[in-house]
Amino acid sequence: MQTKDMEERSKQFINPYLGGVMLGLLLLLTIYITGRGLGASGAVKSTVVTAVDKIAPAYAEKQAYYSKFLSDDHHPMNNWLVFETIGIFAGAFLSGLFAGRIKKFRVEHSPNITARTRLIFASLGGVFFGVGSQFGRGCSSGAAMSGTATFALAGFLTLLLMFGVGYLIAYFFRKLWI
């Protein structure tokens, strides 16, 4: 039963506490080397800034938020978090490959909702997270995890709010998941 075997293997994730220790050591090493923590939303911002600058440079320069990150000698894609994020894709690919989880594109959703509903809410969640990560000056990685580990008040508050609000509203969106 080869398919059965592959199915079993694809369900295997590492122990969460082991994953946590590895992630914590990586975060510690990152701070020790670079003086800053890990991040993910920074690369999204760089991508949007670069895209808008390429398509409508005059608009980008005029807009206060973009021009914060645009200058002649400093390209927004030439940024630490962009290289780190390219690494995230590569690392996830290796892990997925070894575990046999890389398959053709599919939609993961609760049996109670359609794939279409899932995609709509996934997009909507992304928009909320995109806007939220700009207000938060970082997302779960940069603000909540790295921020809390480095004792930043903003990081600790982001951690409490993100999960706190999540638990508060979870009941109203339970159909999406259970």
Binding site: L26, I31, G91, R101, E108, G125, F129, M145
Partner: protein, 196 residues
């Protein structure tokens, strides 16, 4: 003594190579922990899977205790590391929006990247939403600038805000995390198994 790049011990030319290697390890750990699955992540809010809480809190505890230890041994100068500045209004708005994003989308930015790689279309749509969200934020920036810069407190730490020592805060954080691990294990053992 760390941080190495900040103090010029490692040549900044290596910065991007280091970023790439760290990113690879980050992506590997996220995917191997199961964060390429939105239903596994969302389980933390419904009590059928607490992987997010376990991985996240363990990582913060390890890094936090490590930093305190490194500082005590004189291996790192904590006054040189980046402290995320606090803008009280902006943090509150951001945290609330990200809470909604988490429950609606089932991903956060980093985890959605790992989902895309193994072929989750919903992860791709989430990342598309992220790009749109950042674009919306930038487009309406003049109207929300007052919130973004509102309640500025500078690079304040939680220990300064609470008026307790770094050691005590770390101790309390570790105790709270251990209690959360025990408590959530009890909840999960009472839940019927949700087949992902």
């Amino acid at each position: 003594m760390g941080p190495l790049i900040t103090q010029g011990i490692i040549n900044p030319e290596w910065n991007f190579v280091i970023a790439l290697v760290i990113g690879i390890a980050f992506g590997y750990i996220l995917e191997a922990s199961g964060f390429s699955s939105s239903r596994k992540i969302a389980g933390v809010f419904y009590g059928y899977d607490f992987t997010v809480l376990r991985v996240f809190m363990t990582a913060v505890v390890v890094a936090m205790v490590g930093l305190v230890y490194f500082n005590y041994m004189g291996w790192i100068d904590l006054s040189l590391i980046f402290i995320l500045p606090t803008f009280m209004k902006s943090v509150i708005v951001g945290g609330v929006l990200m809470g909604f994003g988490f429950v609606l989308g089932g991903y956060c930015p980093g985890t959605s990247f790992t989902g895309i790689v193994i072929g989750k279309l919903d992860a791709l749509f989430f990342t598309g939403g992220l790009l749109i969200g950042v674009f919306i934020f930038s487009s309406i920036f003049p109207w929300i600038e007052a919130i973004y810069y509102g309640g500025e407190m500078g690079a304040v730490t939680v220990t300064e805000a609470l008026g307790i020592s770094r050691g005590l805060f770390t101790f309390l954080f570790v105790i709270a995390s251990l209690l959360a691990f025990i408590f959530t294990s009890l909840i999960q053992s009472k839940q019927k198994k949700t087949d992902l």
